[in-house]
């Protein structure tokens, strides 16, 4: 997957987790937490969905990389480039 495809996939996961959220105005540099009503249970769901959909394993110590869209895509790029 290219970074652009990974971004679309993350948006799809966010849409799935929180269907009422408007994701059009999402700022990739800003933390998700400041823009969306996501709590720790929702962050766990991003991790779980990536595992379910793409068998991507994210160890707990790396969860901090999922703070914003930009950092998430950067973190996932090497893990998802061959998918």
């Amino acid at each position: 997957m290219t970074p652009a495809e990974i971004r679309v996939e993350i948006l799809d996961i966010l849409e799935d987790i929180s269907p009422d959220e408007d994701l059009n105005g999402l700022d990739d540099q800003k933390p998700f937490r400041d823009q969306l009503e996501l709590d720790s249970m929702d962050f766990l769901d991003i991790v779980m969905e990536l595992r379910k959909r793409h068998r991507v394993q994210i160890p707990e110590e790396d969860y901090g990389n999922l703070a914003s869209m930009e950092s998430t895509v950067t973190y996932l790029e090497p893990k998802m480039k061959d998918i």
């Binding site: 269907p19 959220e21 009503e37 249970m41 766990l44 769901d45 779980m48 379910k52 394993q57």
Partner: protein, 466 residues
């Protein structure tokens, strides 16, 4: 071999099942009864639909609200708000001799009522509201959690009658402990009832249960009714599976039980004497009246009335009688603001709940049991009409359920509606792969039970295998 075996197809078990099946686990929910729902079930009788437990769903949220337990569970289970579609209450009341406090889903009404009836107490009430624990403090870690709610209330309020009145609905809707309440549980119930408020789906608890089951099965989950678990098989300090009532054995990597703490311990091979003294004691009878007209035509527009006939509220099991008639809850499912396209419910209904003694009800031989249902219905209604318009000449059908009924639906010791007073908030047991969810883990009520199933599934059953 299942990834997770879940005991009990109530709200918590079904919610946990959805989470696990969504993330591709092989899950089986085992239910001893012939129907789903546990305490919050439903039945049909004489051509009419009845709910077992539901008066109101607490933790009301409007469409678009993203905070609070209801929004959280809708997200976690991948539902939309429309799947629950709660109609808001018209308004509820706390009625004690000579004084009544109204409240609805906006705390301002209760504040105004307190300012009008107890003018000297309003500042104390506001400071109490500010001191409430947040949901995020409610994993039991806060030292405040286990304090006496009565003690905390006395620090803010000097009028004993107001303290009793505020406690009455919160104990009725979610307190397993007699006479007093853990402050943490008080805060949960205060938020659930006074700050968030009451709602109800037009078709009652069916709507929620049917959505849960459809989702669970759609994800490939297995639900087996009339499949009671008689034993949890333990080998070398781990649960390895369950033995059903008919002797069939099922293997599982882990077990999540909503059967109750003591009830689950009793099933374990390696435990000979569970501590039954820790079982909950509080059970109810419910006297249901179907009316020939809408309760509002009789001048009754209250969604829920919590009544008590003296200045002191007694929250304890009646020891010498079948029921305690001094306090009760009146509910009319008609008194919600349903959507215009739904219209009104087909029948007028008044439901009255009173405290009851499980052992006394279960000791009655069958003919006396049936007779007691009739006399206790009459007594409960006679007690309640002191606090609402007398509807007795308009009753066209009745039903009563008792602690014996509750036990049949839930298999909980003593028919204890809110389970054991001491909760196991982390859901852990003496075995590393056996966990608790539901009533004895933590939160009660429909929303509480669903959140319990979700959080225990997330915490214990979804972690990647080490």
């Amino acid at each position: 071999m299942y990834d997770t075996i879940i005991i009990g197809a109530g709200m918590s078990g079904l919610a946990a099942g959805i989470r696990l099946a969504h993330f591709d686990q092989r899950v089986c929910i085992l239910e001893r009864h012939y129907t789903i729902g546990g305490l919050n079930s439903f039945y049909r009788m004489g051509g009419r639909d009845y709910d077992v437990g539901l008066h109101a769903m607490t933790n009301f949220a409007r469409k678009g609200d993203k905070r609070g337990p209801l929004a959280k569970l809708i997200r976690q289970l991948r539902f939309g708000w429309e799947d629950f579609k709660l109609a808001e209450q018209i308004g509820s009341s706390i009625r004690f001799p000579g004084v009544s406090l109204d409240f609805n889903n906006d705390i301002e009404l209760l504040e105004n009522e307190i300012a009008a009836r107890f003018p000297g107490q309003i500042d104390g009430f506001r400071s109490l509201c500010e001191s409430l624990l947040d949901y995020s403090d409610m994993d039991g870690g806060s030292p405040e959690f286990m304090r006496s709610a009565r003690e905390v209330l006395q620090e803010h309020l000097s009028e004993p009658l107001l303290i009793e009145m505020l406690l009455c609905p919160l104990m009725w809707y979610g307190n397993a402990r007699q006479n007093d309440m853990d402050y943490g549980q008080f805060c949960i119930m205060f938020r659930a009832c006074y700050l968030e408020g009451f709602g109800r789906p037009y078709k009652g608890v069916r709507t929620i249960l049917k959505n849960l089951v459809r989702k669970f099965r759609g994800l490939g989950g297995e639900l087996k009714l009339r499949h009671g678990v008689s034993r949890i098989h333990v080998e070398n300090g781990r649960a390895v599976g369950v033995v059903l009532d008919d002797g069939t054995e099922l293997e599982g990597k882990r077990i999540l039980s909503s059967a109750g703490n003591i009830e689950t311990m009793r099933m374990c091979d390696d435990i000979t004497a569970p501590e039954v003294a820790k079982a909950g004691q509080l059970s109810f009878i419910e006297s249901i009246s179907v009316l020939d007209r809408d309760p509002q035509e009789l001048g009754f527009d209250r969604t829920i009335v919590f009544y008590n006939d003296s200045e002191k509220f007694h929250w304890q099991r009646p020891d010498d009688h079948l029921c305690d008639l001094r306090t009760g809850v009146i509910c009319s499912p008609n008194n919600y603001v349903y959507d215009a396209d739904e219209g009104q419910l087909p029948d007028g209904v008044v439901r009255i709940t009173t405290l009851a003694n499980h052992d006394h009800w279960c000791e009655l031989p069958e003919n006396k049991y049936q007779a007691a249902k009739v006399t206790q219905y009459d007594a409960a209604v006679a007690s309640a009409v002191r606090f609402m318009p007398d509807f007795r000449s308009h009753v066209v059908a009745t039903d009563v359920f008792t602690p014996k009924t509750i036990r049949r639906f839930t298999f909980h010791d003593n028919g204890a509606v809110y389970g054991a007073p001491d909760k196991q908030l982390d859901g852990c047991t003496h075995l590393p792969n056996l966990y608790l969810c539901g009533t004895d883990q933590g939160f009660v009520g429909i929303v509480g039970a669903i959140v319990s199933g979700i959080s225990m599934a997330n915490r214990h059953c979804l972690v990647p295998d080490a």
